[in-house]
């Protein structure tokens, strides 16, 4: 039995299993999310990463503190990640002025050396409504390797999307941690079985996003969904909305695996060039999402067989807005020149910051050192199909 808890920030009652306050998003336990003790090394002072928490405001707006201790961030780490100085009650370092990372606004995961993610508020938004959840087997070169990469992007201007997205990501991860069933053993039934599991993961996430808002909420929480599961050499992926998965091999052209449910995608399908479609006024309007006002969202799913080394990427539009084409992403990866997924996830977040950081930024990566299984005459098909029923 867990003790009943209250949020240290706002005092709201917190159910035993939740890691963040449902009222204000404050982290309730430090064991799940990385903040003061990142699993990836903190950047060296002097070449520190810009992925600090941002709190931007409109020009000329006034900021007021009623007392020196008004801006308490009780979940903030004690030591500055940049210089090691102590963090003031206002949430900033008392030596170098860097803002302490708030655990919901910036968190990192690295379940195994070959899988890592960064989920960050970005520059312009006031809170981080993106969420991610990851799991991975220890060895990325093992034949039985398995990794699950989940990203949910809470829709802004809805209530408690930051709560729904995080709970949804965790629920989806839980639904995807068991190995996929083989069905009847035939390729067709295997695909159908995987599709069923992925659809169940979407349902699990949907239930959490719905639960994040009261039934009478004016703007109930809603979110996108994108997940990729690597099992051996096969990537299975699913998405609802416009969060994406990409396969970015080291020496062949990269591909976008997911297909957006967005107005822009509709325009592309109708023949408009991608760059033009994605910069059209309604480009970001999504046509499918998770939430109360979306009944039984069905994902677009697919599978891909890995034949060479590369990166599996699942991300929110906060990243791909600045590098939509696979080649653009590959270019940024080349610039970084690293094989470390944690370093690359930070670098890509940095890149999005440098481009303006207009949205929350989530970048989840698996470094895949090449195929681990021997296949004969397998045509490595990419199949995409709607689930049945």
């Amino acid at each position: 039995m867990t003790e009943p808890r209250t949020c240290p920030s706002c005092g709201a009652a917190a159910p035993g299993e939740s890691n963040f306050c449902e009222e204000c998003g404050t982290a309730l336990s430090a064991d799940v999310l990385v903040s003061g003790a990142p699993t990836t090394p903190a950047p060296e002072a002097g070449e520190s990463s810009p992925i600090e928490d941002m709190d931007s405001g409109p020009i000329s707006s006034a900021t007021t503190n009623h007392s020196a201790t008004a801006a308490q961030e009780s979940a903030a780490p004690v030591a500055c990640a940049s210089c090691g100085g102590s963090i003031g009650p206002d949430g900033y370092c008392e030596q170098c002025g860097v803002k302490a990372l708030s655990p919901r606004d910036h968190f990192r995961e690295q379940p195994a050396p070959w899988v890592a993610g960064v989920c960050d508020k970005g520059i312009r938004h006031h809170r981080n409504e993106d969420a991610m959840a990851t799991s991975a087997s220890p060895d990325g070169t093992a034949r039985d390797r398995r990794a699950v990469l989940v990203v949910l992007d809470g829709v802004s201007n809805t209530d408690d999307s930051q709560v729904g997205s995080l709970a949804g990501a965790k629920a989806a991860l839980a639904a995807l941690t068991v190995p996929f069933p083989d069905g009847l053993g035939t390729d067709g039934s295997r695909v159908a079985a995987v599709t069923h599991v992925l659809t169940n993961a979407v349902k699990a996430a949907q239930a959490e996003v719905v639960a994040a808002a009261t039934p009478e909420a004016a703007n109930p929480a809603s979110a996108t969904f994108s997940a990729a599961v690597l099992e051996g050499d096969v990537v299975s992926f699913a998405n609802v909305g416009d969060s994406r998965s990409y396969w970015l091999p080291d020496s062949s052209p990269g591909v976008q695996l997911s297909v957006d449910d967005s107005a822009a995608q509709g325009l592309i399908a109708a023949g408009m060039p991608r760059a033009e479609a994605e910069s059209s006024p309604q480009a970001h309007a999504i046509t499918k999402w998770l939430g109360q006002d979306s009944e039984e969202p069905t994902p677009t799913v697919g599978q891909l067989r890995i034949t060479e080394p590369g990166w599996l990427l699942v991300c929110s539009d906060g990243l791909w807005n600045y590098a939509s084409e696979p080649a653009q992403l590959v270019e940024q990866i080349r610039r970084t020149g690293t094989d470390d997924p944690a370093a690359l996830a930070l670098a890509l977040t940095d890149y999005a910051y440098g481009q303006g950081g207009q949205d929350n930024i989530t970048t989840v990566l698996a470094r895949i050192p090449g195929p681990v299984l021997v296949h004969n005459a397998d045509p490595t098909p990419t199949s995409k199909e709607q689930p049945h029923g």
């Binding site: 600090e52 709190d55 000329s60 006034a62 007021t64 020196a68 206002d90 900033y92």
Partner: protein, 430 residues
């Protein structure tokens, strides 16, 4: 209990490679209460002391002397019962007109009887002798020092003439008084030196102004004393923290008047400077803080300054000044309205002062250029009072371009009023 609130106005966005952060921090005090009462709240044990210093030199004409007496008596009426007070008459030396004591505590406790006695002492003033402001300040300091319980010390000083002491003598007296008591200064008529009295007032955290006509003295003194009595917060310190490696370019009060505080910095700790602000009533003061930071990569955010107000060791409010580097030129190009407004007002003050100094030195060309720029700035920043005062000294051909001609004949009082009021700023229309 007094409550303080700090509000920050700034554009926190810096371009790639940008280093300088500017912010206006407004600090507002409410519930200040009455001077000297906050500590105990009981009458008779006030910690506030008031001294009225009146020039009684021979230059004070009959009308001015009578006006000054009336004004001093009006000020007495505003001093809250229980407050410690004294009256000093100033000539070539200073003498304690009330209370009439030779030694021991030289501040009386205000009540009906002491007010009456002080009033009657004032009515005995006769004009004779010279003007030695330094000696007046020194006596005021000694009088305050005679009652150690008085911790909030304020004086009003009225003079009508130029100081007769060596400048070094006055400077030394100002230095002794600085940080010990506050002093509002007023000049009667037009035979006194604005620069001289401004030096006293600025050092002693007070105001300076001209009282052109004796009939205006009474109201002026009443107002000054009312304001002083409303300062229930005896003393506060402005504190500016800046991060390691940063440089505080300047700290200025920009409203209600311009005062550069940069040189008054004392060290609170290695990253924090303290600046005296004196006593506070229910009021707002605006500060312009400029900090230079080492540039960081685009996308980084950090704190550029913590601007705090401290009562003793207690920080009672804090405003956060931030810096965020961005390559969004739409964000970085904007100058905050408040920062722009006060930058203009500070330039306005110096243009008026420099223009009038050039005019006094007979450099008409420089005076025309500087006062022209002042006219332009007053219009741009919407300082209607400055515009009105400037138009009494120059004829304006083109306000927008700042084209002016010096008036052939100028009322000296108008020119002095322009000078004394040069540091008064207007607030931005929100």
């Amino acid at each position: 209990m007094a409550e303080f609130v700090a509000t920050v106005y700034q554009n926190e966005f810096l371009p790639d490679g940008g280093t300088d952060v500017n912010a206006i921090v407004t600090i507002t005090c409410t519930g200040a209460g009455t001077a000297g009462q906050s500590a105990t709240g009981t009458v008779g044990s006030s910690t506030a002391g008031e001294i009225i210093i009146v020039d009684t030199s021979g230059s004070m004409g009959h009308e001015t002397m009578e006006g000054a007496k009336d004004a001093a008596q009006a000020a007495l009426a505003e001093i809250v019962d229980g407050t410690r007070f004294a009256v000093i008459a100033g000539t070539d030396s200073a003498f304690l007109a009330y209370p009439l004591v030779q030694d021991g505590p030289a501040l009386a406790v205000m009540d009906a009887q002491s007010r009456e006695e002080a009033s009657s002492a004032i009515s005995q003033f006769r004009a004779s002798g010279g003007t030695a402001i330094g000696s007046w300040l020194d006596l005021a300091g000694s009088v305050f020092a005679s009652v150690p319980e008085v911790t909030q010390r304020h004086a009003i000083l009225l003079t009508d003439g130029e100081n007769g002491e060596q400048p070094a003598r006055l400077d030394a007296a100002i230095q002794r008084a600085t940080g010990y008591f506050q002093c509002d200064c007023r000049g009667a008529g037009t035979d006194w030196k604005v620069e001289e009295l401004r030096r006293v007032a600025q050092a002693l955290l007070g105001t300076v102004d001209i009282i052109p006509s004796p009939s205006e003295m009474r109201e002026e003194f009443r107002t000054i004393m009312q304001t002083a009595m409303g300062r229930g917060v005896a003393d506060a310190q402005l504190r500016v923290w800046s991060p390691q490696g940063a440089q505080v370019l300047f700290v200025r009060q920009v409203a209600p008047t311009v005062e550069d505080l940069s040189d008054r910095r004392t060290t609170v700790n290695p990253l924090t400077g303290g600046y005296p602000t004196g006593a506070w009533g229910d009021e707002s003061r605006d500060y312009h803080v400029a900090v230079r930071l080492p540039a960081k990569a685009v996308g980084q955010e950090q704190l550029a300054a913590r601007v705090q107000l401290a009562l003793g060791d207690d920080v009672v409010t804090q405003g956060l000044v931030k810096a965020t580097w961005s390559n969004d030129s739409e964000l970085t190009a904007k100058i905050d309205k408040q920062v722009a407004h006060y930058t203009g007002q500070v330039e306005l003050a110096s243009m008026i002062q420099e223009g009038l100094a050039a005019k006094a030195a007979g450099d008409g060309a420089t005076a025309t250029t500087k006062l022209g720029r002042a006219v332009q700035l007053a219009a741009e920043t919407g300082n209607a009072e400055a515009t009105t005062r400037l138009r009494k000294v120059v004829d304006v051909d083109d306000e927008k371009e700042g084209t002016v001609r010096l008036k052939r004949t100028v009322d000296k009082a108008d020119e002095m009023a322009l000078d004394t009021a040069s540091t008064k700023t207007t607030r931005i229309k929100k």
